[in-house]
Amino acid sequence: MKPTHTLDRVSDTSIRITRQFRAQASLVYDCWTKPEYLRRWWAPLTRGVSMLECDADLRPGGAYRYVLGGPAHGTFAFSGTYRELTRPTRLVYTQRFEPMPGEAVITVSFEERDGATTVVADEVYPSKEALEGALATGMEDGMRETYAQLDELLAAQGSGRTPR
């Protein structure tokens, strides 16, 4: 049976993702940090998005940047800095989806037992809107722009302002 992940919105501003992988923690940790491995799984290839650039300075205070793109998508990037790198059990880093403002703080733990590793990723965003913007990066082609417009309209409606 294919493993499934859990993804829960634990508060207005944070989500928790849990998933088990059949590998040692050191390998899973390396897949989460090393560009040569990240390039192979982080971009959703079935959607025609690939990783164009992947740089990471794997030290506390070090910066990383992933640039993704595809013919239907243009290019977009995620970037941030590492706060903690404790191989193979824990990672803490910030993440920004350029050009949106605000950074999330992401804490990933890797717990190995009987040859399998359980990964728990906690993503904490500076605001409800920032979290929803990040969730919106999961959207299918063509929907993102319309949702962005809708989000503005809904926010305007909620506040009573006239939208653009």
């Binding site: 992940h5 993804l7 929803e132 999961g138 959207m139 009573g160």
Partner: protein
């Protein structure tokens, strides 16, 4: 959620939706302010009504359209979208992990117990 999106994916309907956001409007107002012909506006309003995005009320001789809040709230549930993306990534990671463990590398394959047949 898919229905609401489908209703709003057309540019003119999105303009009408935007125009209705601050307050209800009559068909006449919509036509005049957005510089659209009545048959076209009526057609789009029908679609929006069929998808539950707008409601209509008769006031005197006018038909007044307003936004319904329920379908709009559904659009905020983007968790499902994100779940699908995360699922794809993890499926790809499963594959990468399997390949890395199969190849000769610093990471030896994970030793698994033999499964007993049921």
């Amino acid at each position: 959620m898919v229905n609401t999106f489908a209703a709003l994916a057309e540019p003119t309907r999105l303009r009408i939706f935007e125009f209705l956001a601050p307050r209800p409007r009559s068909v006449g107002e919509i036509c005049e302010t957005l510089a659209l012909g009545q048959p076209q506006v009526s057609k789009h309003l029908r679609v929006l009504r069929d998808h539950g995005v707008v409601a209509v009320e008769a006031r005197a001789q006018q038909r007044i359209y307003s936004l319904r809040p329920e379908p709009l709230r559904e659009l905020h549930d983007w968790l499902e979208q994100y779940r699908a993306l995360v699922d794809e990534r993890f499926t790809q990671l499963d594959q990468v992990l399997a390949e890395l463990q199969a190849a000769p590398s610093p990471h030896p394959p994970v030793r698994r117990k033999r499964r007993s047949t049921p």
